[in-house]
Each structure stands twice: as C-alpha cells, then as structure tokens.
C-alpha cells in the first residue's frame, strides 16, 4: 500500500465513522416512541434531541407566521428599537403560553417571523401573538357633559341628514309637527338612548345603526374642544363590551363619553393573574386581577380620592369592560381587576398579555402556514415510504446492471445518505436547517442523482475494459476521465441549489439544503470512497476480471 493510498483509506474511514456517529442520534431519536422518550432521563433526551436532525414545521406540525409591524405613527426615538421590543414582548407572551422551542426572528425592516413547532391551539396562539391589548383606566365624563356631547352629535347628524336629503326639518304631511315628532327630528341620535343609572344605553339591535351614524359625522370637530390641547377634542366615545339586561328580555349596551386622556395604561401594571369571584354580580365569571406599579398606584390613589362618586372606566382595546362608581379613595397597593364577558381562556390570555407587556406598534399577519399534527405525521410516513421504495428499486437496478460493482455503488449511496443526515444534524448554524417535506424529497432525489456519478465512472471503466485495458488501468483511467465530467455536471446543479438556498424560505430552503449536501456528498463518495474500495480490492486480490 502506498502512502497516498493509506491516507485516502484513513480519510474515507474517518468520514464514514463521523457520518455514522453523527447520524446515529437522529435514527435513535426518530425511532423512539413517546413512552420510551418519557422513560429516558431528561438530560439524556435533551442531548439526543440536540444532536439529532430537526424536523421542519411541515413534518412535525406547527405554525409559521410572518408579522408586519406598522411603525408608522411611532415617534422616531421609539421606532428605533420597536422591532427588538416587539420581539421581546412576543417572546414573553409565547413563553407564558408554553410552546417548546419557539423561534422568533426579525426579518428585514419591519417583519417578524414566528415559528411554533408542535402547537395544538393555533388560533389562540395567533390571537395572543398579534394582539395589541391596550388597557386603559379612563375617567367617564360627568352626566351633564355626556348630555352636551349627545346634543352635539344630534346637531351634527341633523346637518348630515338634511344635506343628504334623507330628512327634512319641515313637516312632510303639511300638518304642524307634534311635540314628539319635533323632538325626533331635532335629536335623531339621542332619541334612541335610554337613561339607566345616569348613563345612556342603546338597545342591542340599535348599536350597529348608532355606530353607522357616528361614522357619518366628524367626531373630532363635533366633540367639545380640549381646554389646553388646542384643536383636539376633550372626549372620546366608547361602547361597553357587555350587554346588560336590567330584568327585561332586550339587551342594552352602554354608551360612554370618556376623557380622551387615560389616567393609567397597561404599562403601569406589574402583575396580572386570573382569579374567580372578582365580579360580585357574577362570582363564577373569570376575571383578571392586577397589581399596579408604585407610581401607577399613587396616580390611581390621587384620582380616586378626588373623584369620589364619579364613574371610572376600565377600557381594553377601546371597549369598556366595566365602569364602576368610585366609592372611596383606593390606596396605592390595592389590587384592581377587570371582569366581564371573558371565557376562562380569554381571561388567561389577557393576563398573559398584561404581564408580558404591550406591543410597541400594531402588527398584522401577512403570511401564515400551519400544518396540523396528523398531516405532518402522514407526510413523514409517506415520505419515508417513498424513499424506502425508491431506494430499493435503485438498489435492485444497480445490482442487476453492475453486479458486484453495483454493491459498491449501493454502499456509496448508503454512505451518502448518512453523510447528509450527519451534516444536517451537526451544522453549527442557528437555526440549524430543518428537514422539511421538500427536503425529504430532495433526499429522495439525491438517491437517484447520486447514482449518477457512479454510473459515469462505471460506464467509463466498462469502455476502458472493452479497449482491452487491464482491470487496474481501466479503473484508473475510468476514474480520471469521469472526474471532470462529474465536476462540471454537478457544479451546475449546485448553482441551482444555491439559488434555492438564497431565495427560498422554510420548506423550499430545506430542499436546497438536502439537494446541495446530497450533491457534495455524492461527489465525495463516488470520486474518493468507491475508488478506495476498488483500489483495495484490485491490489489485495489482484483481480483479473472485474464484475461490472
């Protein structure tokens, strides 16, 4: 054995040992069932998992969301780190929701990619991630002011209705207007409101109509002006979240006129958790109990101390959840709560959001791909089956067509697959490329294409043998002549695979990964590894006739 030969043998053995070792974790991990995993020590399982191939979301099931952050309207100083803060908030929320190994990354200027593997409750996760959840404590305008606002709305609406010809202030019948007709014409909006507990309520079925009317007028100019903030209205309008019945069949929704500026927002909350029995009228309703920060508590105490007897609204995302009358000063440190209309889950999610902080800017889901667990399982089963059958067919073909040399090619094929899996399970990049469904297809395709390098070589060797060369010369020349062809042919496929890696996302990228690794591995196995086998055999046994 020459020294060059010795080095090649060592290299091939080294690669093979490494490939078998690095891919063994994956095979062990994937072949274990759930009970076996449970019985294993947590540390050991963790180690096994960390060293094994990770499956893409399309194979293990899960959710891939791309969110776009709307940074417009943020002050410049806040826009700078808005993305980082958004990621932090989302990470906190997801951590509390309890998903194993979430991946949250910023992409480009204003996008965030969230990947949640093995998720069971996609819809809830989606709501939790993208929700702004703006919680505010706001003073309700005194009844006299509420009246003024309602009158202003009436006046503005009359103008709009008359201008559009939908209503005339004159009598349509020619008869003089009765008092109630007069009232209805002058107060088209407030006529439908009922006063209960000093607050205006609208019948549930009138609410859609009322909202529509409010859309038709320019509330900013209709509402009384702010005393100090010029050009801005003093109040804003909000609806109650919950329908009230007051012992009748019909439901009513409260209409609130709120101060424009909140006394406190969710950012003053230091802790929040779900607790029953917060609502005296409905003790089983779940609610969220919150503790305020020290400065928030002080602000709250001073407001409640000076506004006894007035209403204070707890507003979430613009809807009033409750608006109790302030009975006494609430000292700093007293927990406060929000209840009404929540399911257990909604209350839990709200608590999570309040604890984890508020998103710095609104977000929208612009892309989402979710694969249910059964589809993922199906894909693995079907993919592996296709791979097994394809592999078997290729093996049979190679053995028939190339006989003993076919065995070498098949061994190279197996090594090839082990090398690809081993590399994919070892790559130190983060996140490590996962095996996706197209990736699995790429691996299957590699089986077909990896044979190609061997086919090129074997066909060459056969040709050289037909030219009456000795076995060793034929092998030497066959490999040498095929070398350049293999290089040229594979570089072009690599170009295509590289483009896929750059351009693709998720599943498609996974295809690029297995395809390019497969090509590289096949070049090694075909050019170096099988050559070593042939050389060893011909040198050792001085083969006179090659089975090819």
């Amino acid at each position: 054995m020459t020294s060059n030969m010795r080095w090649r043998v060592i290299l091939v053995l080294l690669v093979l040992v490494l490939a078998v070792w690095r891919s063994s974790y994956t095979f062990r991990f994937l072949s274990m069932d759930e009970t076996a995993k449970e019985q294993m020590a947590a540390e050991q399982l963790e180690d096994l998992k960390a060293n094994s191939l990770s499956l893409g979301l399309d194979l293990q099931g899960g959710m891939h969301i791309v969110l776009e952050v709307d940074k417009e309207g943020l002050p410049a100083d806040e826009a700078v780190d808005a993305m980082e803060r958004a990621v932090e908030v989302i990470t906190n929320r997801i951590d509390q929701f309890g998903v194993a190994e979430p991946s949250i990354q910023i992409e480009g200027e204003n996008r965030i990619i969230v990947q949640l593997p093995g998720l069971k409750d996609e819809q809830r996760a989606k709501r939790l991630i993208g929700r702004t959840a703006l919680l505010e404590f706001i003073a309700v305008a005194p009844p006299a002011e509420t009246d003024i606002v309602l009158r202003s709305i009436d006046r503005a609406l009359v103008e709009v209705l008359v201008a559009s010809g939908e209503m005339s202030l004159e009598s349509e019948t020619g008869l003089p207007l009765t008092e109630s007709e007069q009232l209805e014409k002058e107060h088209p909006f407030s006529i439908r409101a009922r006063y209960l507990q000093q607050l205006p309520f609208f019948l549930e079925k009138d609410v859609a109509w009322a909202k529509e009317q409010l859309e038709r007028i320019d509330l900013d100019t209709v509402l009384p002006a702010h005393p100090t903030d010029l050009g801005m209205p003093r109040y804003r309008i909000a609806w109650a979240q919950d329908v009230r019945h007051f012992g009748t069949e019909e439901g009513y929704l409260a209409f609130y006129v709120l101060e424009r500026e909140a006394i406190l927002t969710g950012s003053s909350i230091v802790s929040a958790d779900v607790r029953p029995g917060l609502d005296q009228d409905n003790p089983n309703a779940p609610g969220v109990s919150m503790r305020l920060s020290r400065s928030g508590g002080r602000t709250f105490a001073s407001h409640t101390g000076s506004h006894i007897g007035e209403y204070l609204a707890v507003v979430l995302d613009g809807s009033v959840y409750k608006a109790p009358v302030i009975k006494s000063r609430i000292p700093s440190g007293t927990p406060t709560s929000i209840t009404g209309g929540f399911t257990d889950e909604e209350a839990k999610d709200l608590a999570i959001i309040l604890r984890a902080g508020k998103l710095p800017a609104p977000m929208t889901v612009i892309e989402e791909r979710t694969v249910g667990p059964s589809l993922g399982r199906d894909s693995i089963t079907l993919g592996l089956r296709a791979m097994a059958i394809g592999f078997l067919l290729v093996v049979i073909f190679m053995l028939i067509y190339y006989k003993a040399s076919g065995v070498v090619a098949v061994a190279a094929l197996v090594a090839n697959i082990l090398i690809v899996i081993g590399i994919m399970a070892t790559l130190p990049v983060n996140p490590r490329p996962a095996l996706t469904l197209p990736g699995l297809a790429g691996l299957i395709l590699t089986i077909g294409m990896a044979v190609d390098a061997n086919v090129l070589i074997f066909e060459r060797i056969r040709e050289e043998l037909r030219n009456q060369k000795t076995v060793r010369a034929a092998i030497r020349d066959g490999y040498e002549r095929a070398f350049m062809t293999i290089m040229d042919a594979n570089v072009t496929t690599l170009i295509a695979a590289a483009v896929l890696l750059r351009f693709g996302s998720g599943p498609v990228k996974g295809f690029g990964v297995t395809l390019s690794l497969g090509i590289l591995a096949s070049m090694f196995t075909a050019i170096v590894a099988t050559r070593v086998v042939f050389d060893l055999i011909t040198v050792k046994w001085n083969v006179k006739k090659l089975s090819i």
């Binding site: 791309v66 996609e122 819809q123 989606k126 709501r127 929208t364 612009i366 892309e367 989402e368 791909r369 979710t370 694969v371 249910g372 059964s374 589809l375 199906d378 894909s379 079907l382 993919g383 296709a386 059958i389 394809g390 067919l393 290729v394 028939i400 067509y401 469904l437 197209p438 297809a441 299957i444 395709l445 089986i447 077909g448 294409m449 044979v451 190609d452 086919v455 090129l456 066909e459 056969r462 037909r466 062809t485 040229d488 042919a489 594979n490 570089v491 072009t492 496929t493 170009i495 295509a496 695979a497 483009v499 896929l500 750059r502 351009f503 599943p507 498609v508 295809f511 690029g512 395809l515």
Partner: protein, 302 residues
C-alpha cells in the same frame, strides 16, 4: 448486464423532426396557457387562504360550499384532495382578514355535518403583498440560475455550447409549465423549486454529452462535426438512459407514494426529467451542430 452499447443511432439525422416535436409541445402549452388566461397561480403567488380539511367519511363539495356560504364565505374554491374524504378550500384573503378562518370554518363544518367530523390538516394564508413579493422572487431565482449557468458553461465550453444548453433549459421549463397548464395544476413555491432542479438536472445531462463532444473532437480529428456529435451521443447514451431511469424511478415513487402534498412537486420533476433527458440529446446538441454548420457555411462564402 449492459444495453445500448456500441449503438450507431443517427440522432442528428432526426434533428429536424425533433425540432418540430419540441416546437409542437411548446406550442400546445402556450395555447393552453393563453386559452386559460395565463398560468394558474397557487396561493403562494396569487395570495389568499388555503384550508385543508379531512373528514371521517366521504364528503361532497356542495355540502362544504353551502356551509361556507352560510357563514359568509362567497366564491370559495373547493376541491377534493387525494380521495373524497379530504378537501382543499381556497378563499380570498379579504374574509380571512376579519375572521379566524381555520377555526370558524372548522366549527361551521362540524356544526352543519355533526355525523361527519372534520379535522384540521393545514392552513396557508398569503397576503397580497407577500404573494406579489414571492412572484418577483421566483422570477429572479430562475433568472439568476440561468445567468449563473450561462456564465459557467461559457467559461468551461465555447459560447455556442452555452447557448445550446440554455435553449434546452428554456425548452424544458416551457414544456413542464405547459404540462402544468394542461393538467390544471397551480404554480406554487415547491413547483418553482422543482423547476430549478429540472434546470440543474437537464444541464447535468447536457454537460455530460458536451464533455464527450469536446473529448471526441480531439480524438476524432478530421471527421465532420455532425459525425463527432453523433458518436458522442451514442457513446454517452447508456449513461444518459441509466441515470434517467434511476432518477425517474425515485421520482415516480415520490409521485405515487409521497402523498398529496408533494404530488405537484413530484409531477413537475417527473415531466422535467423526461423532457430534460430528451432535450440534452435532441435540443442542446443539435443546436450546437446547427450553429457550427452555419458558421462553417459563412466561412466558405468568404
């Protein structure tokens, strides 16, 4: 075992017929695309929402449609998917923006068909902006791949070879797209990945033959170019067929056994491999020959 060894097929003799066949195949595809008003785009590129649902028992598209209409989803496209128990529902992103699409559709289906429970399999939502971006990216990807390949072959071979190879690639992609249009399949991201693979694969084949031509030109100095190319095609024929057969075997397995999700992807590969093999023999090499003949004729006139 060996076959196709020592053959003396006159491939180039049929090159006119082959050009005609290629042109006809491309034309059929173009007509199909034009008649259908463009290539059918999957939701990756068109934007929208795709829901895949599996029922316990067979279900009719009409039942699904009426349920969807009851909850305000108009103009949904409903298709059975690998059997009559599974369905794919495509709808516009407008409705999904306001609603929790998967949750509401599934609830509605289970309420309207209580004795045939539905299970969530997959949801894909692509906003219009993302769809547009992906279209641009896919086009750029194919363009980049073609340019990269053109440069590589120009360096490794003469320019006329590069032109022949790229023409063969465009031919392969065009025919594969034509087949997609004819069979009513939509273009998705994985299909683009398959097209790029076809580009790589077909080229692989072409280059092996080109390599042989380059070698035979030295070896058979003095023979006519047509004869040299014919010899090269015959010499590499067994390799061309063997590789195509093994690759086709595994892709066929993928198509048959790989499941519905990957079917279009496998279909593209399958068509591409057949067409790619054909084009390296009947498009890429004959074009180089035509170029050479034209160049020689020009030289003679001078």
């Amino acid at each position: 075992m060996e076959f196709l060894v020592g053959t003396k097929f006159n491939f180039l003799g049929h090159r006119r017929a082959a050009f005609f066949l290629s042109a006809a195949l491309i034309l059929i595809g173009v007509v199909s695309v034009v008649v259908q008003g463009g290539l059918k785009l999957g939701i990756d590129f068109a934007g929208g929402v795709l829901l895949q649902v599996r029922f316990e028992n067979p279900v009719s598209a009409e039942d699904i449609r009426s349920t969807l209409e009851a909850i305000g989803v108009e103009e949904a496209e409903i298709q059975h998917f690998g059997g009559d128990r599974e369905a794919i529902i495509r709808m516009s992103a407008d409705w999904a923006k306001q609603h929790d699409a998967a949750g509401e559709v599934l609830t509605a289906l289970n309420e309207s068909m209580p004795d045939n429970p539905a299970e969530f399999m997959r949801e894909e939502l692509v906003g219009p902006k993302v769809g547009q971006e992906l279209r641009g990216k896919a086009a750029m990807a194919i363009l980049y791949a073609l340019i990269g390949i053109l440069i590589y072959i120009s360096i490794r071979f003469e320019f006329k070879f590069a032109v022949g190879a790229v023409a063969a690639l465009v031919h392969d992609v065009a025919i594969t797209l034509g087949f997609f249009s004819l069979t009513g399949r939509g273009l998705t991201l994985p299909v683009i990945a398959a097209l790029l693979t076809i580009v790589g694969y077909s080229l692989n084949d072409t280059i092996v033959i080109y390599d042989r031509i380059r070698e035979d030109r030295r070896k058979l100095y003095g023979k006519s170019f047509v004869d040299i190319v014919n010899t090269s095609l015959n010499e590499s024929l067994s390799r061309t067929i063997v590789t195509s057969v093994t690759t086709l075997l595994v892709v066929l397995c993928l198509f048959i056994f790989g499941g519905e999700v990957i079917k279009d992807f496998a279909f593209a590969l399958m068509v591409g491999i057949v067409v790619g093999t054909y084009s390296s023999v009947y498009v890429a090499s004959p074009l180089v020959v035509e170029w050479q003949i034209a160049a020689e004729a020009k030289k003679h006139r001078k």
